[in-house]
Amino acid sequence: MIAPVRPTSPHWQIYRWQVGSSTSIMHRVTGVTLALGLVALSFWLVSLAGGEQSYAAASKVFAGPVGLLLLIGWTFAFLFHLLNGVRHLFYDAGYGFERTPRHASGWIAVLGALGLTVCIWALLWHFARL
């Protein structure tokens, strides 16, 4: 049985983007991204258990241009999801809902994740572990 497509109001197409709504959907998007990262992590672990050859093959994939892009993306996704996740835990305890702290903590989550991603990858690049 096919459900009839009912008309709905536009929301993200028309309502102004704000820190609260943006970080909320970002939390979901990074969460799903990290779910794919979990698959990659398991893949990496399985390649390690498989021996030297399987690990070398997997390493080549991760060290390639696409692989590196994915790893950098996962780094940001993880750090944002972590920082925003902690922000959510404070919400659960009842703190930080008002406009000012909500906006401030939101920006800390985004900029913090961005900054830490750059730091980590700059360190990795510097120590030539790529």
Binding site: S42, A49, G85
Partner: protein, 114 residues
């Protein structure tokens, strides 16, 4: 399918697993960054340490659980057809058990030396 009539347990499990993941993920990240290289020998030696094996298993297990809790909500939100939703949620559960199981099994293989 109607209303779930219960969501408290899911909500709490999500929070507890989140709190557990903070030290677990940071431990994993810092451990890897502290290694001199990510070559086969180095990583294998590190992972075969008892504490590494234990924490790694816990990391994969809790991460799998937390991720599963989260993505099922996403499916419930966006998949509107009941049939598709049932199938997708079932498939998701199997995939998570597979991914988490494979990761844990691999860690155990390294830990017990095979």
């Amino acid at each position: 399918m109607g209303s779930a009539k219960d969501g408290t347990a899911h909500w709490w499990a999500q929070r507890v697993s989140a709190v557990a993941l903070v030290p677990l993920t940071l431990w994993f990240l810092f451990s890897l960054l502290a290694l001199p290289d990510l070559g086969y020998g180095t990583v294998r030696m590190w992972l075969s340490l008892p504490i590494s094996g234990l924490l790694a298993v816990l990391l994969v297990a809790v991460m799998t659980y937390h991720s599963y809790l989260g993505t099922t909500v996403v499916v419930e939100d966006y998949v509107h057809s009941v049939g598709m939703r049932v199938v997708t949620l079932m498939l998701l559960r199997f995939l998570y058990v597979l991914a988490g199981g494979a990761g844990i099994f691999a860690i155990l293989r390294v830990a017990f030396g095979s």
